[in-house]
Amino acid sequence: MTGEATYGAWAPEGSPWSAWVKPVLFACMTGDAASDPAGASEEAVPWAPSADSGTAVVIDVPSSRGVGLGLALARLGYQAVPLYNAAPSSGAGYPAVEEEPLVDMRAILVALQAAAPELAANPPRRGAPPAFLLDARRRGHGATASPGRFDNRSVSFTTDFPSARSLVSHGIRRGLLVQIESDEPQADLAHTLRAWQEAGIELALKRLDGSSEPGALSVTRPSRFGALWYRASMLLGMRRHPLGGFGGTIPEPSEGGGFAG
């Protein structure tokens, strides 16, 4: 499948959530990805709410596992909405074999392409709730910058998601965060979840490192929550992010190769 066809499978025309699908990886797909035998992992989602329960799912797990979870939820009637926002390569497209970006997106590229035929054959039904897919590695924690490595870290912003008002207008009144460990959302994602929570969306958390059922989630007010972007820009010496958000920053590599931020 071409990148355009793959994108069409994940973001079918006419589906209300397709507008939020991030095109970054689809724009960088070539035939190279399709030749890789790996695909999306098979995932079981016994914890998933019914697709009729008015729940938006936010999956924040590392690498291509999110694609597998998204595909499993799609089989239950959700629309999987990839929000992967990192350029995979320092060049014009698919990363070269020898390239080592800080956040390796190749497995996700391959998984998205592998899952596309099934999604194309089974487009989301009318009224399907969204399951947003994030890469938990996006901010590059644990990665080591060094000369020659492409720095493709990224941040999730509130404007990457529909507003709570938009969710409610589609019958969504609950949100379920799915992550492997920790009882707290990642710092960048907390802004979105807090905004949803303040607007009346009822939040829950499912940790994948245990077998427990989803439990209630209360997101504490993040630092600089709700500050106007230009205030953040002025106060923190950062430029606001045109994709939205509140002045999240990504640490620059330090002189020693670690992160100074």
């Binding site: 972007w229 205030r231 606001r240 920053t249």
Partner: protein, 406 residues
């Protein structure tokens, strides 16, 4: 300036009818996938307009000519400013950048020079809000999106700035590697550079993204991972560079031998305080003086008590810090007042103009027509629309089409 433009009683352009979804959807998708426009959805707002702005050819030519005259004047001002270190402090440049610009080393060579002049139709005719001299964006919207929109209607685009930029860079690099510098995490910058990399690849010119720290300098020559660069694209704002050790970026300003686009000297006229040094320059700058509203240091303008004035920081991006008392909540305005009073040398006060909205399928909208010049020649336009008379990052992007191209 043209008397006809100055006295025109009505908006000299109009909004066209929206394209039907079956026509517009493929245009949006191709813009996303081919031109790497990856932020077409910002929250609940779809940022690509399904309708164009239609401009008569004579009006476009007048704007293009004005932008070319502004470019020539800008280059003349830069040539003086880079020899006048005593004026650099008035521009609000970071100290580290001033130090490098004030050194005696030769200016680094230019690979290509891209400017974007932002025009607004007002009750007084066309007015200029600023020049994006340092790191202008908007190429996907102004290039492929506009071309596809034009083809769908049988009209002409105002130009193709990405093609003109890539042509100029390919000539400068002579087939060697082009290093594309941007800040980690700023995908809106990455997306432009990846689009540019594709354009360069189509011209048999290899290109790679990197951060300024990854660029290696030896005797003023840049290389990336050991490969010499034929040119460097600095899509990394000058004021940000000051936070890095100077050895990573000083040759982008002075002492470099590898051609740069845009060279560091471009930061001079990017400053919104640029008008404060006009009277100290020999260059007369008649077009700048005709089109830019009156601009003063904050202490010399009644911006706190008069809604006829706005304030903005010396280095604001896409309208980030443009602040108007009647457009802000009182709490936010108090914060702005505090910031301006705390560091007045980093701000400027400017007399407001009265933007005239244009009727569109999304309601009355205020338009900003950004005209690109590349190496001094007009190369296309980036049109944005906003419901308020302030064009910022949440504005809607629109194709500017020329109705009777000459």
């Amino acid at each position: 300036m043209s008397a006809a433009l100055q006295s025109a009683p009505s908006v000299p352009f109009s909004a066209g009818a929206p394209l039907p979804p079956v026509v517009f959807a493929p245009i949006r998708r191709r813009t996303q996938l081919e031109a790497c426009k990856w932020d077409v959805q910002v929250g609940d707002v779809a940022t690509l307009a399904e309708f164009p702005l239609l401009m008569p050819g004579a009006v476009w030519r007048e704007l293009a000519d004005t932008a070319e005259r502004l470019s020539a004047e800008t280059f003349a001002a830069e040539a003086e400013l880079q020899r006048r270190p005593e004026l650099l402090g008035k521009l609000g440049l970071p100290r580290a950048v001033r130090r490098v610009l004030a050194s005696s080393e030769a200016l680094s060579p230019t690979a290509a020079r891209t400017l974007r002049f932002d025009f607004h139709w007002t009750t007084e005719g066309w007015r200029l809000s600023e020049v994006n001299s340092d790191v202008p964006g908007g190429f996907a919207e102004a290039s492929l999106f506009t071309r596809l929109s034009a083809e769908a209607r049988g009209l002409a685009p105002a130009g193709d700035p990405i093609a003109a930029w890539a042509d100029a860079l390919a000539r400068a690099a002579c087939g060697r590697l082009v290093a594309l510098l941007s800040a980690p995490g700023f995908l809106e910058d990455h997306q432009i550079l990846i689009y540019l990399a594709r354009q360069l690849a189509a011209r048999a010119c290899p290109a790679r993204l990197a951060s300024p720290r990854q660029l290696e300098w030896r005797d003023g020559t840049a290389s990336l991972a050991g490969e010499p660069a034929g040119a460097v694209v600095r899509f990394y704002q000058g004021e940000w560079l000051a936070r890095l050790p100077a050895r990573h970026w000083a040759p982008l300003f002075r002492g470099g031998r590898t051609p740069i686009a845009n060279p560091g000297v471009a930061t001079l006229c990017e400053s919104k305080r640029f008008p404060l040094v006009w009277d100290a320059l020999r260059a007369p700058l008649p077009t700048w003086r005709a089109f830019l509203p009156e601009t003063r240091a904050p202490r010399q303008a009644p911006w706190r008590r008069s809604d006829a004035w706005l304030v903005k920081s010396a280095y604001s991006n896409t309208g980030d810090t443009v602040s108007m008392r009647d457009q802000l909540p009182a709490r936010v305005w108090r914060r702005v007042v505090w910031e301006v009073r705390s560091s007045p040398n980093n701000w400027v006060a400017q007399r407001r103009f009265e933007s005239v909205p244009v009727s569109t399928p999304r309601g009355a909208m205020h338009a900003c027509i950004g005209v690109y010049t590349i190496d001094g020649r007009a190369a296309g336009a980036y049109a944005r629309l906003a419901p308020k008379p302030l064009i910022d990052f949440a504005a809607v992007d629109c194709a500017l089409l020329v109705t009777d191209a000459m």
